[in-house]
């Protein structure tokens, strides 16, 4: 199927996603489905193959693609708003539980490979950013987008604009100086040059395709 729902409006598309998936469950028909819409892929597929310039970068279940992205491209492509990327430079020892980000040690899932000093990228999903006064990273609130249950808060930091998903009940002032913390067990580390995800304890939980 080649983007069969591409031309529909949101509500119709959501209804069709459920119908197509129910149809598939009933018929058990082998299906390869092409889409640029991540919601369609995440909601319907048993497995997703994320493609970039003719190369399959990762094949895995929707959950693994989201929680354990194999490359920077996959991490950036899946997720709305996409994953935040904080560049830093460090060397890694097997078994390390922290990385050096600016003047602070940031707790991460245990590293499973050694790496000489190189340019790395810390990946944080917006929903894993928390607001605390003692935060790892400080910044100024640039603006917030109200979504009903939640809101997306954009914070300008020395690592660029970071996005956080927070309950809509909290209010932020534009220009307010706030601290950000990251949930340690969900963080990804990427090699900036190759885009490859560094092996950590996080990646042992999932089944790889």
């Amino acid at each position: 199927m080649d983007e069969p729902l591409g031309a529909l409006d949101t509500e119709m598309r959501e209804a069709m996603i459920r119908e197509l998936r129910a149809l598939h469950d009933r018929l058990g028909a082998t299906t390869v489905y092409v889409t640029h819409d991540q919601l369609e892929a995440m909601a319907m597929a048993d497995r997703i193959a994320v493609m970039n310039h003719g190369v399959v970068e990762q094949v895995a279940s929707p959950r693994d693609i989201y929680d354990r992205p194999a490359s920077l491209f996959v991490a950036d492509f899946i997720g709305s708003p996409p994953m935040n990327f904080l560049p830093f430079r460090d060397s890694l020892q097997a078994g390390a539980r922290t990385v050096r980000l600016g003047e602070r040690d940031v707790a991460i899932p245990a590293v499973r490979e050694a790496l000489p000093e190189s340019d790395l990228v810390l990946g944080v999903r917006p929903e894993h950013v928390r607001f605390t006064d003692q935060g790892m990273v400080r910044g100024e609130v640039y603006g917030s987008e109200y979504l009903g249950t939640t809101q997306i808060v954009t914070v300008t930091t020395r690592y660029g604009a970071l996005k956080a998903r927070s309950p809509a009940s909290i209010s932020f002032r534009t220009g307010e100086n706030i601290g950000l913390d990251f949930r340690p067990d969900t963080l990804s580390i990427f090699d900036k040059q190759s885009g490859r995800a560094i092996r950590t304890a996080l990646y042992e939980g999932g089944a790889h395709g």
């Binding site: 919601l39 997720g79 709305s80 249950t149």
Partner: protein, 335 residues
Amino acid sequence: MAEVEIRAVSKAFGQTRAVSELSLTVSDGEFVALLGPTGAGKTTTLRLVAGLETPDSGSIRIGGRDMTGDAPADRDVAFVFQQYSLYPHLTVFENMAFALRAPIRRVPEAEIRAKVHEVARMLHIETKLDNKATQLSGGQMQRVAIGRALVRSPSIYLMDEPLSSLDAKLRGEMRLELKRIQTDLGATILYVTHDQTEAMTMASRIGVIEAGRLMQIGTPREIYENPVNAYVAARLGQPAINLLPAGLFAGLPPAAKTIGARTEHLTIVRGGGDVAATVTRIEHLGDQSHLHLDLGGLPVVTLSDPEANLGAGDVVSLCLNKPLFFDAAGGRVAV
């Protein structure tokens, strides 16, 4: 920019009433989104303001002047169509300059060049100005279509789902950009969409439209937290609000026939809640997981706490936390 006032406008096509007694004022510098499903009358409303349709009754005032019978060219409006509608034989520059070169405007050529370059820079298409308009990606063509409107300084920009043909990622970026441009220019925009996220994140006020009628108008937060009826309540929120029969829970207001429970109105506990429900499925959509529950045969969808570790077949208990109530006709019941 100017204030635009739609006064009790109706329009029918044959037996079909497309717009019924619709009144709406867009203030100078305001961004108003009309939100509704396909066929609700959103595009007809825009076309009535533009003068592409003539109302059967009611009037359209722009900048305090009655323009109901005036031709589109005399109304000083700029329209961005859903299907880019670019001139395929012209370059990006010529497409954007086209409206400024109209004989009735007589803009000097140097001014045209300066304006097109300024807007192209704002939309990040300044390197594409010499390309043929059709040799662009969908996202770039859409920027050209928006740019063609922005080179002018009309009384109001009328935009008909300008982002709907873009992919999710580009749409997210364009939402932020369009909002920033609107704030910078102080532009007055009437924007039509079926996408609740676009309406919520960009608009100063949202008008919810259904079957040609304006059901409610207010800020995104007012519409979301304080909907006038069950229909409006169902338009906003992901996952959608759960509408449940009042009989399921005790201690409700007497007039309430339906309970409207959004994710934030439902607390899930392992035991000791008001009613029991069975987990049928957990849908991992990435940034959020939808928890599908069976509540005595009724489907209920809420957000799942990632820490809760629930699985299909688990029995949970639900508590209501200040939900919305609706009467038999769907109208809101005050608490």
